[in-house]
């Protein structure tokens, strides 16, 4: 149970406004991810939901209950901190029981909850240790256990995995995801890691400079970015951006790469985008295309409209599941992602297929989406 609504949340420190009207509405028991670069206001927003910071304006509703002005303990929330924030002087057992004692839960029930939580997170053997005797991953588990024990309506996570090593991070990622399925409770998760956002979120809010740039499902954020910021922030390696100029050719509407010598390369515009781009004829706009949408012809799926160009291989980065090819199109650097079995050598030429159907276009001045 849990449905969170944020209405026009503002936050200022003196004259400095750091949140400029945040609106989010989650579905029942959704996993909401707040993502953005550092300083974008995501942690401030989380603190406002928690009641640890005071909003300057707007409403916070949890299951139609207005949370504004309530102290953190009255909001029916639990929070997991980046630093874990386990109480150093207490054992794991007491760390988990602390919140229950504060709420005057009867003793028998407390012990039952403790045992349930310990079993769920497999920390039964750690109950009598102190936090400093635990590894990072174990501390993280205890911190999550402490939050679960409260059985809150809403969980808040503040970059909980960023202090863990890479392997553990992947493990805990799926564990939190599994927990979300199991507990059927809403979660708000702050991160700057776009892979965490994509893999965990039902709903992602991409934030920058105190504004939500886009709110949507992972698929829509990734495939249908609202603006250039979202397109560039989500995805690794980042989306390729090329300055192009649309022009009318005998073969139909085409894109000429800006700054190309001579005629340069022409990229065809797929029919569904022609309407929008015809209004930009002769104007320089930004083409966005993800590395995996520039690939070896063999990796292309059937029925996809492709445009193949032969380019020089400048650098190769084999990642294992696929290989990144660094190349240049009319002077602009470009990253392509090809199947690892493709035989390429630095300095040689290769044929790369552009999936123009998946390309997106932005206004170069304000970054807004054109098509």
């Amino acid at each position: 149970m849990g449905k969170l609504i944020l209405q026009d949340i503002h936050k200022s420190y003196g004259k400095d406004e750091v949140l400029h009207g945040i609106n989010i509405e989650t579905g029942e028991n959704q996993f909401l991810v707040l993502i953005g670069p550092s300083g974008c206001g995501k942690t401030t927003l989380l603190n406002i939901i928690a009641g640890l910071e005071q909003e300057s304006g707007g409403d916070i509703l949890l299951n139609d209950r207005r949370l504004n002005g309530l102290s953190p303990k009255d909001r029916d929330i639990a929070m997991v901190f980046q630093s874990y924030a386990l109480y150093p002087s207490m054992t794991v057992r007491n760390n988990i029981l602390f919140a229950l004692e504060n709420r005057k839960v009867p003793k028998a029930e407390r012990e039952q909850i403790l045992m349930d939580v310990a079993r769920m997170l497999q920390i039964e053997h750690l109950l009598d240790r102190r936090p400093r005797q635990l590894s990072g991953g174990q501390q993280q588990r205890v911190a999550i256990g402490r939050a679960i024990a409260r059985r809150p309506t809403l969980f808040l996570f503040d970059e909980p995995l960023s202090n863990l090593d890479a392997k553990l991070r992947v493990e805990m990622r799926s564990e939190i995801k599994r927990l979300h399925q199991q507990l059927q409770t809403s979660m708000v998760y702050v991160t700057h890691d776009q892979i965490e956002a994509m893999t965990m979120g039902d709903l992602i809010a991409v934030m920058n400079e105190g504004v939500i740039q886009q709110l949507g499902s992972p698929e829509s954020i990734y495939n249908d970015p609202a603006n250039r910021f979202v397109a560039g922030f989500m995805g690794s390696p980042s989306m390729n951006f090329l300055p192009v100029v649309p022009r009318e050719e005998a073969s139909g509407l085409c894109l000429r790469v800006a700054g190309a010598e001579g005629d340069g390369n022409l990229l065809p515009v797929p029919p569904k985008m022609q309407g929008a781009l015809r209004g930009q004829l002769g104007r320089r706009i930004t083409l966005g295309i993800r590395p995996e949408q520039i690939t070896d012809p063999g990796s292309a799926r059937e029925g996809e409209a492709l445009h193949s160009i032969e380019l020089d291989v400048e650098l190769l980065e084999p990642t294992g599941p696929d290989t990144l090819v660094f190349t240049r199109l009319d002077g602009h650097s470009l990253v392509a992602r090809v199947h690892p079995s493709t035989h390429l050598q630095i300095g040689s030429r290769c044929t790369l297929s552009f999936h123009m159907e998946r390309a997106v276009f932005f206004d170069p001045e304000n970054g807004s989406r054109l098509a």
């Binding site: 640890l52 303990k73 901190f81 924030a85 109480y87 602390f98 504060n102």
Partner: protein
């Protein structure tokens, strides 16, 4: 061997500082004729405890001739509540200044810091005026206790503030989400982490208050004086001959409590001053 000069220098320095203590000790065990007839550094021919006994319970101080023991007790009655209360308030102040910050917290902190550089003399007159208004002038309890609590607050607050600054604020935030309030967080989360700084503050306050002379002599009447003032009176009360051995024994008695405190808690003092942060 190359270290020999260093050890030599250190040994000399130690001798230099220990010499007065040595002289006090041997003198306190000598009889008066011995003091007059022998060199100041000579060991006593036999350990005579008369001076210690007399200093403790027989010497004339002011109007009384019960030795320094009533004043020794006075000092304890002064130092125990003053240390406990000033340390406790300092802890709460430090906790507020670091984890419950409010508008103007920094200004208040800097004003308190100013309190650590005031010389004792500055507060004598205003404090006497306040004590007169409160009708507690001349008393040990609560008069002199209050003086030491107020004067000590700047120090105790500074100590605790600088210690609590290193305790991660996330602990307080986590405890608030966990449903704990101001005092519960202080009691259950902060205090259990505070042993080193409590030790440092308590030792500091104990020594400051126990050794203080000026406030004692200004703010208490004769029978309520602390031991430091009593020793001064003892030395000043010259009858026929000056009893050097009794003076020395009385001074040593007065120094024992601070020495004991250092021996028992000294390791915390060093640890607390150098250790500081709690590693999460």
């Amino acid at each position: 061997m190359r270290r020999l000069p260093i050890y030599l220098l250190l040994t000399l320095a130690a001798l230099f500082f220990l010499l007065p203590l040595y002289i006090m000790l041997v003198t306190s065990f000598k009889t008066m004729p011995e003091i007059y007839n022998q060199g100041i550094l000579a060991l006593p021919r036999q350990f005579d405890l008369y001076a210690w006994r007399h200093a403790w319970s027989g010497a004339t101080i002011g109007a009384s001739n019960q030795g320094i023991h009533p004043f020794f007790i006075n000092s304890f009655e002064l130092v125990i509540p003053a240390v406990i209360i000033s340390t406790a308030i300092g802890a709460i102040n430090g906790y507020i200044l670091t984890h419950w910050r409010f508008r103007g917290a920094n200004i208040i902190f800097y004003l308190l810091l100013l309190g650590t550089v005031f010389p004792f003399q500055i507060i004598l007159l205003p404090m006497a005026w306040v004590q007169g208004k409160l009708h507690i002038a001349g008393t040990l309890i609560p008069g002199l206790v209050m003086v030491h609590i107020i004067y000590g607050l700047a120090f105790t607050t500074l100590f605790f503030r600088n210690y609590y600054v290193s305790i991660p604020h996330d602990l307080v935030r986590a405890a608030r989400v966990d449903g704990a309030g101001f005092f519960r967080i202080f009691w259950r989360v902060m205090l259990p982490l505070s042993t080193p700084i409590i030790m440092v503050t308590a030792i500091w306050q104990f020594t400051m208050i126990w050794n203080n002379f000026l406030f004692g002599v200004v703010f208490t009447n004769s029978d309520q004086q602390p031991v430091t003032v009593a020793i001064n009176d003892l030395v000043d009360t010259v009858t026929s001959v000056h009893m050097w051995n009794v003076d020395m024994a009385a001074a040593l008695i007065a120094a024992i409590p601070t020495l004991v405190v250092y021996l028992l808690a000294g390791k915390y003092f060093v640890r607390g001053l150098t250790g500081g942060a709690v590693k999460g």
